[in-house]
């Protein structure tokens, strides 16, 4: 493993934490109401990352594919659940649809990336597969939740418009098409925006990480390009998949809109 990097001590972590504490102080002083969320989020981030650091240490030592695939499945399932929890509405089967599409698109694209592009050996090498899958999943999750939320909100708000089209002889696809388009665009906007400014306004996290670890900038850039293509492809696949599944549930094969199947989530959208 490359050791050409500066290791960080606990004291250094504490020093970094003072940056947040200064902001918490400002928030309290100006009564901005941000202190609590900032502290909770910082504490969660700290605990989660330290834990994941320990877990990954043992995961990276795995020498058989089964546990790696198992971890991938759990990560995908959690992403599928989290994507739905960020939406304001639900329908029966939405969790299944979300998990199936996120799992499918993440595994297909990460699999293609690991086997076909990066050419990792052995194919399940956890040091590559787990971080790559994680990055892909994080982005699909955002895309799927945004697209799904837009689609369900659209169905609820535009029921009359959609049924007007159906009543005039539109197929369910024709009636839903404008909403499907908008939903897919909404889901893809963060990824497209990120690619637009990448390297110009911001250096992506993974590339920064590689640079800090001593990788040559040209190599780090190549890795980032591959990752971005994987993220964009997987997000596009995931959002399209989840919207098509939701479409088939909310429009039956008699070209009827079943808007009654939608209900608002009891607790509203949760942000985690």
């Amino acid at each position: 493993m490359n050791t050409d990097y500066l290791s960080l001590s606990n004291a250094q972590l504490a020093l970094a934490a003072t940056l947040i504490l200064i902001n918490v102080g400002i928030s309290v002083w100006l009564r901005l109401g941000l202190a609590q969320s900032l502290l909770v989020a910082s504490a969660r981030m700290l605990v989660q990352l330290i834990l994941v650091g320990f877990i990954l240490q043992s995961v990276f030592e795995l020498k058989t594919p089964l546990p790696v695939v198992g971890i991938g499945l759990v990560m995908s399932a959690l992403a599928g659940i989290a994507a739905v929890r960020r939406t304001g509405r639900r329908f029966v089967g939405v969790y299944r649809d979300s998990m199936i599409t996120i799992l499918g698109s993440a595994f297909v694209v990460t699999g293609a990336g690991v086997l076909g592009i990066v050419d990792v050996s052995p194919w399940y090498a956890p040091q590559y597969t787990i971080p790559l899958l994680g990055m892909v999943l994080g982005n699909i999750l955002t895309g799927v939740s945004l697209a799904l939320d837009r689609f369900m909100e659209g169905i609820a708000r535009e029921t009359d418009i959609i049924e007007n089209d159906l009543a005039l002889g539109a197929t369910r696809w024709e009636a839903a098409h404008p909403l499907i388009r908008t939903s897919l665009r909404t889901g893809m906007i963060p990824t497209i925006n990120a690619m637009m400014v990448m390297g110009v306004v911001s250096l992506p996290g993974m590339m920064t990480g590689q640079l800090l670890a001593g990788v040559a900038p040209a190599d780090a850039a190549r890795y980032q390009i591959v990752i971005m293509f994987m993220i964009a492809a997987a997000t596009a696949l995931g959002t399209l998949g989840v919207i098509l599944l939701a479409f088939r549930r909310l429009f039956n094969d008699r070209h009827q809109l079943c808007a009654g199947l939608l209900h608002t989530s009891e607790r509203g959208a949760t942000k985690w």
Partner: protein, 239 residues
């Protein structure tokens, strides 16, 4: 004289100048329809026959299921039981878009996508079920004239239409797509009396212009029903 009947639905023949042709073809036939909303039975064993040339008025208090009846006949609601036959073919044997291209439902509160009135009128001609048919420009102007509007109305934004104007656009659009049966859900509810008469004339003229057309028109307005219907169905609220 019209009156609410004590049974849950009732047909009445209304006096009418002139007579429809002798036993015209059945266009739309509903038999054994039942509809239940949660535990509430709205109707059971419902029968309805609509013949070519027929003008059926439907009335009944709010909650009696007038809108639901029209939506069911338009195929927008799943059939819970019973059968619908249109043009000698059961609904299950029709492709829904093809059926709805001929049996057109006009909702009480039409909703529009953003755009101009002209775009709204053209929209149904982009659907597969109607793709081969060109947009009838001449007929649009003629129909608009019938409602007291000129061509500038076509450039108006649908977001800015008043409730009454929206109903006019909905009726004009329904007539443009050349249906066989119109299902009109209180199509003149938000209109002033002059425009009400103009819309009534347009629709009555439409049905009499060809022998294979018919409509079902819901209304709370008794004098209107006497003007536009030759048969009346009264729906009673569910108990």
């Amino acid at each position: 004289m019209l009156s609410f009947s004590s049974v849950f639905s009732d047909f009445q023949d209304l006096p009418r100048a002139g007579h429809p042709p002798a036993v015209p073809d059945v266009l739309l036939k509903a038999s054994g329809l039942s509809f239940r909303v949660e535990s509430r039975i709205l109707w059971q064993g419902f029968e309805l026959t609509l013949r070519a040339g027929e003008r059926l008025g439907v009335t009944g208090p709010s909650g009696s299921g007038k809108t639901l009846l029209l939506r069911t006949l338009a195929g927008l609601e799943p059939l819970q039981s019973g059968e619908l036959v249109f043009d000698d073919r059961a609904l299950s044997h029709w492709s829904m878009p093809a059926y709805r291209a001929r049996v057109v439902y006009v909702p009480q509160r039409p909703a529009w996508r953003e755009g101009t009135v002209e775009a709204a009128l053209r929209a149904p001609f982009a659907f597969h079920a109607r793709r081969k048919r060109g947009f009838p420009d001449g007929q649009v102007r003629e129909l608009l004239r019938g409602t007291g509007r000129d061509e500038t109305f076509l450039h108006q934004r649908t977001e800015r239409l008043s409730g009454g104007e929206a109903q006019i656009v909905a009726v004009v659009r329904a007539l443009l797509v050349a249906p066989s049966v119109l299902l009109l859900d209180e199509p003149t509810a938000s209109l002033d009396s002059t425009t009400v008469r103009a819309i009534e004339d347009l629709i009555v003229h439409w049905v009499s212009a060809s022998p294979d057309r018919a409509y079902i028109w819901t209304s709370h307005d008794r004098p209107q029903l006497e003007r536009i219907a030759d048969r009346l169905l009264t729906l009673e609220p569910a108990s």
